[in-house]
Point group: C3
Chain length 672, copies 3
């Protein structure tokens, strides 16, 4: 990445092509303004068709052609799909999960801890890195792909987990106490008696096991990165394709869904240490359901990992029947990625594949490999990007709001769901989407990253915790001090309930923050017919006693009318909001806005479907991406003294009305 | 139990406490009028942390403190959750089910038939009994907990089952014939060919296997009771916590549901022989759905086991979000248990547990371990009970209606469901709840208990059989004679269809009772749009020919209009009703009432939500519990010449209106 | 089959009877006009109670009595349910599927490829055939029953599959290419590396495996037929009971459902070579949902296998609650089978079974084994048939429409569903039922049968392809030529997408037929709010560009309005329709009718619920079955110059109104 151009391209699999098309593909890519391809990930059986026999010819062909055309190449290590010969030789490298030994066929089902897997993976990675690091076109490496721990329950993982617990807790007494193992006779007096995790029903211990396995997955990426380090040039980056928890449309067997929320099986923040450039894939709902929120959430999450521009390694031009973009949507998406701070964007993938599991996970080209409306729209903004370049389009942000997320909370709710229809990520997205729709930009910050910050007030004015169920005293104190120091804390129900071992605090809720919020509660309920401000409460409600707080809204109910639903409270120099129940987004937004105002945070006047996302480009200009997520026309009153839409050259002054077409996008650069 | 005081207390787990609180807990219990704790069940890993190493210190501490405070203790044998060391040593004690060997972690997943389990269980029971039987505070023992057969499919169980069949049927010819095994080539000519029950698709044989395994579970309890017998004092009872089939709210993963109907995996009547005092747990639906019917059904079932006051070993003060009692509901529940004839009631449990599987199966205390609305309400009726005592509050009944239930019918419908949305227990509850709501009190009688009675007329005036699908000729004859002798029989569809091997009788239905009911049928149907008295028929309808019976209501349908839906018939000195289809409760109630009137059974004028349940207390007084299951106010016209509400001292005379607050309770004692 | 009488009878299981009833049963059968029983299939444990010990006594008894009564007997080989002794001896004959080794108990779970199974099966078949072939009453043999491949995944099957692939593709390079195995590293360089099919995620390879296993199942039937050939008399037929994909009502556990569409686990056309007479079972939905379409679809499918009259070996008189026929429905059904070209019909089964899995899969007799409305109705048409005979009632057809079906398309959509609520068979039935309701009679033709035809124009005027997803170039060319030659082709969405390895064609869709249809597309979509002619589009829509075709209807949608939904196009001497989306049947019918008219196909004026199905009887008369699928009365204007209803002797002339009672049936024979 030379920082001059926005990376624009696609994952490219010449080895999947039904016939030779390299020249034609490159020509079509160039015509679309594309300048990068990602290759080789998941091609192990092509790279090493037999054990120890390597064939780099398809890589050479692509790299040579790319170099000739001035196209850059990202080399993926091929480890996330193993060749059949390896499994014939070493059947135990297939992962052993709760469901038994995985059968060969699908990707990502290996036991990446297995020595035999590591031996063979290391060899192919070394050979590939050695072969490609010197190539001029190669600008970086992607290690593995969408790595997770694949519910690895091998004996080795079990043993390592026990070692980890020994180290962490020292004695079985402390272990028993920390997780409350006396319950149902699960306590042990010798480490030898520690049972297989397969049948574990202790949420806390199970959550610890999940966290431990996320460590293993992060370590595995680190191991790959260390190998690549030995070969890569200084100008070559190492990246990884971090993905999000998936949500199915509930329609098809394999071919549906989109990027929804926090990834349970990998901790992005922990793993980000292995890479020099954060990368991600972001998929989204069907054309009729587009809001841009996934691009916002994913971008705000991945950008916050390193606080640097990041690469969208996979996004989607066309797919199964649920993603056939309307005119303008692809271009709008592309600008939305830049608006979140992306340094570039690659489609997954260049061409629709003609067979295999993802036949209908379509590419920019349809199966006919010819031009089509999606490709034509890509050509349009590809050319725009080429012209304007990264100096204008890439932005950095200094958001004053942090939305705090946490894997451990996510997995805790698998054991103790708030409601079967309300997962952790539902709450996270309820809050994130409300901020997004209000045009209140935020960082999405892993709780571990928050802990590593010094004084929170130096960085943020407002911290939002959706269902931060598990929080240790140290973090709670930090948040308390944040409010004391003038910060605004906004927390929802199910925050600050238990420690990191998921033991509920044996004192008044919300633990350690009753004075800060000015409330307490020791009861909660299914809402039944309860309303707040006339709106139905759904899924869950805590019965809040105000103890100093202002009751912003009480519950409306014969018996629960005496309790508060939403409160705010001044504490030290700051203020703390508490939202005790789940409602439609409208109510939540009202209180988030109130809190943001108290935190002194400015926002654009517009609300969704008009989205404004801002930052500073390398030239130091203030850039406002104006995005219109609607199939109808709309308008936006220019709030800036003077801006130029660099896409059209049009100039707008404060108060002027900017007419918005359906699925429209503007890049407004402040000019005074 | 000295018979003077109502037992009131809680399950108590000091070993689960996050910090030492024994003194504080006992003080809070005493303040609430509590006088008993149940301890030690499920604490094996605490009692015997390593093989053969015993530690009774937590038991001693509780017992000592309890004795000092005048609180009684029930000691539970700890066998329903096994320690990890035992499973490490003897992995095969984990039960082998249809799903394979159960993994360690959850409770109640052991193979209680396994010799190694028995060896270790016996040792810890003996040591515990020996250690505690002499303690003054200890008033009784609970053997195991909610015991069932856990779908045990071990080789040993298979072999014992074959032995049992050999003994029962003698020859394979008779076995083949009894169960119709020629079907699909399942007949055998040698016992050696008897196949594993794992793949059995013969409903009859499978039902026999289930019944056999219920025997094993009952025998296992007997085995525990025999051990305790060697140690207990004469004044110490042996009890067991019988539970009911569970119904999920369909909301959460583990933390929801309530006591619904007949327990499929244990026969209460069969197992009751092992204990000297019947015990049970009764859970109920969410605060908005409370009717009291579960307390009625559970109480009428457990009381009928021994026809003695029984102990509610577990009931619930607070729980997951579905049980956050409204003011008055806890107290109403408490009086409802007494109204069914309970001798006492313990909460499960004293305090909410801070970790483990049942974190949100809350106790009387919330996780903050302080006072709260539930605890405060318990204090109120705890003090009331203490003042009034068992002499006033405990009642005995002589109900004239028997509702007949049967495990074999229950499991038969798993193979041949009436409808996917209508289980056996749905029919049982449909009928029971109708009686309950009409204030027609009944005994809930196991079919085996009914068989052991002499002449049924001596005890009952009316017998009700909901879906008594499987009935042998002897029982059918007994029922026929009951009607001949002047009794009233009320049966629903799917009664008297097959014998105990689930072979459908090859003659006219209802088998052996066509003359008694004055009907026959050989067709049944999905109701479609059929109605009866303008009400929709749901799930199932039999096309009844009247043959002497009065057609109380025909079906309303183009083709089925020629058939009767509900009939009654005089037979001998009695009368028999037949309800050929499922309808809303209103229609059923109309006919039940008719039948009860014919049987000369008196009932209170009131209907649900006003519930009246009556009996005679040890002082010989007539006691009428008046319970109001409504969130609105109501009233009750006093039908008794003169009664005193012993809770308030208020006196009421016949015809006076007793005003009822929401969720109100009265204990009316007749005073002339 | 002497061709003189319609076969009318039942499956008969004296060995399941609760008591001896042979004489009584035969008398009742005769009274009903029945003349055939099918016996012995699934009776292995009765025939050979111990290894090598045979007992034919129950067969002899039935055959002797049948001969005496002039009733014919079909002998079924007993192999579809194995005896317990065999599984004790050879546990590995239970089939190994994806779910593991099947447990003993259920039928059809054996590994019919296993040598031990074959050894024992051969012995019992030979002994049975030898014993029965000489009996006068025996008119034919049924080999096995409803044979499928039972998801057989044994090592042997895996090895045979690899052999088959080797032979078919020669090299691993060609294999990799054909199925695109490079995807996710599944390509192999040695045949030894070929992985177990258990985890295969390549739709194409998996589809090939399914097809291969259908071959094995067909070969197995061939193997049985070859054995029977050695014993049977020339006048004895060999048949098999082909069944259809099942659709559950979604109500009960085991006892619900009906014959719905193409059988995925057996290719009827391939297997039909083994038999001399095609046989089938056809079950149908509940009495309120009867349309006759299942009898039409099943009949048109099975008749087309050999283009000869076929035998309905199983149909249903009564069943679980979902099939309690209204007066007239049984008779209507019976005539409907004849109207499709059946040569006879047997009920499954004679009597309701009193135990076992199918207790409520009732027979003509209810469990009481006496007369009942179903039996009485059977008596009526049994006598009618006896009187009229096959010479009058059996018909042959020469349909001019072919509806093309294909197993490979069916299984392909399991991997790439059109929508979770729209299966292949849903599309097939959508089209078939539309034709049926329009009274446009068709053959249902397996794609392999179509390929074997010479010029399609010689036989058909119109070919309809519902979702013919997978089609090789040769077939496509054949269809193209069919249109060129003057035929009418009517195809729906998802036709002509990929080759037989399920590789999508890398050129413009519909592959090879863009000129024929005059359209192309490379995008498709979830319909959202799209409508066509004001009717909602459901599940799926292709965005069609017209390239010469007439747009019969465009999509109505803001963005998709530019695309065609339905098109027609003249090509050569013929014409081609393309239906790009799924709609309610009304729209489809409109275009089918248009196409049929263009093809010069005549139809009766009536539409469902009045059904007319026609043919020529052995006497050369034109016969029109007139069937009325309604519970209300209706009428039909006679379109024939002069016909006689042979059931009543009534004569009708052109233009006369024939009044139709509810569920009425007529057999109109043209008399000039």
């Amino acid at each position: 990445m030379d920082g001059k151009k926005i990376l624009f391209g696609a994952a490219y699999y010449p080895e999947y092509m039904p016939y030779e098309r390299l020249d034609e593909d490159m020509a079509m890519m160039k015509a679309a303004g594309m300048n990068v391809v990602r290759i080789a990930e998941s091609t192990w059986s092509t790279l090493e068709p037999k054990e120890g026999v390597f064939d780099f010819s398809f890589i050479d062909r692509v790299c040579d052609k790319a170099e000739q055309e001035g196209v850059s190449v990202i080399i993926g290590t091929p480890t996330y799909a193993v060749p059949a010969w390896l499994v014939k030789k070493e059947p135990e490298i297939m992962v052993l999960t709760k469901a038994g030994r995985a059968p060969y066929g699908h990707r990502q089902l290996m036991d990446f801890m297995h020595p035999a897997f590591r031996f063979h993976a290391e060899r192919v990675i070394r050979r590939l890195a050695e072969h490609t690091a010197g190539k001029k076109a190669v600008i970086g490496f992607q290690i593995d792909n969408e790595t997770k721990y694949y519910d690895n329950m091998s004996e080795q993982v079990q043993e390592l987990f026990v070692e980890y617990l020994k180290e962490r807790f020292g004695s079985t007494e402390r272990l028993n106490k920390a997780f409350g193992l006396a319950y149902w006779s699960n306590s042990i007096a010798d480490w030898e008696a520690f049972p297989s995790m397969r049948g574990c029903v202790h949420a806390g211990l199970s959550g610890e096991f999940d966290a431990f396995r996320r460590h293993l997955a992060a370590d595995y990426l680190k191991w790959q990165a260390d190998i690549i380090q030995e070969y890569r040039r200084e100008d070559q980056f190492i990246t990884h394709n971090f993905d999000f928890q998936w949500k199915k449309f509930g329609a098809d067997i394999a071919q549906d869904g989109y990027s929804y929320g926090v990834q349970p099986d990998m901790n992005h923040y922990e793993a980000a240490g292995a890479v020099t450039l954060a990368g991600t894939d972001i998929y989204h709902p069907t054309q009729d359901e587009l809001t841009g929120a996934e691009i916002g959430f994913g971008g705000d999450s991945i950008r916050s990992l390193k606080e640097e521009p990041y690469l969208v390694l996979e996004c989607q031009a066309q797919a199964f029947k649920y993603w056939t973009p309307y005119p303008g949507q692809l271009r709008l998406h592309a600008y939305s990625h830049l608006a979140s701070g992306a340094a570039g964007m690659l489609y997954w993938n260049w061409h629709s594949i003609h067979n295999g599991y993802e036949t209908y996970w379509k590419g920019l080209l349809s199966h006919d490999l010819r031009t089509n409306p999606a490709y034509e729209e890509a050509c349009r903004f590809g050319q725009e990007w080429k012209k304007l370049g990264a100096e204008t389009l890439t932005i950095r942000k200094q958001n004053k709001i942090a939305l705090v997320v946490d894997n451990r909370c996510l997995t805790a709710f698998r054991w103790f769901p708030i409601d079967k229809d309300l997962s952790y990520n539902d709450v996270v997205r309820w809050v994130y989407d409300s901020l997004y729709e209000l045009n209140l930009e935020c960082d999405v910050v892993d709780v571990e990253a928050l802990k590593e910050l010094g004084a929170l007030r130096e960085k943020y004015d407002m911290i939002v915790t959706p269902a931060l169920y598990s929080a240790e005293d140290e973090l709670i104190e930090k948040l308390r001090n944040f409010v004391k120091d003038g910060g605004v804390l906004f927390s929802t129900f199910k925050s600050f309930v238990c420690d990191r071992q998921l033991s509920v605090y044996p004192d008044v809720q919300p633990h350690g923050l009753t004075e800060c919020f000015g409330i307490s509660y020791n009861q909660f309920s299914e809402p039944g017919t309860t309303t707040v401000q006339g709106q139905p409460v759904r899924y869950f409600m805590e019965l809040l006693h105000t103890e100093g707080a202002e009751c912003l809204a009480p519950y409306e109910h014969k018996y629960w009318g005496r309790y508060a639903a939403v409160t705010s409270h001044s504490y030290g120099k700051g203020k703390a909001w508490y939202m005790g129940c789940y409602t439609e987004k409208e109510l939540l937004k009202q209180y988030l806005l109130q809190a943001a105002e108290a935190a002194g945070i400015q926002k654009a006047e517009a609300e969704w479907p008009v989205i404004v996302r801002s930052g500073i480009n390398p030239k130091g200009e203030k850039v406002h991406y104006l995005l219109h997520y609607a199939s109808e026309e709309g308008s936006f009153v220019c709030p800036y003294q003077r801006v130029t839409d660099v896409l059209t050259g049009m100039e707008y002054r404060e108060g002027e009305i900017i007419p918005l077409r359906d699925w429209d996008a503007f890049v407004l650069v402040e000019t005074c």
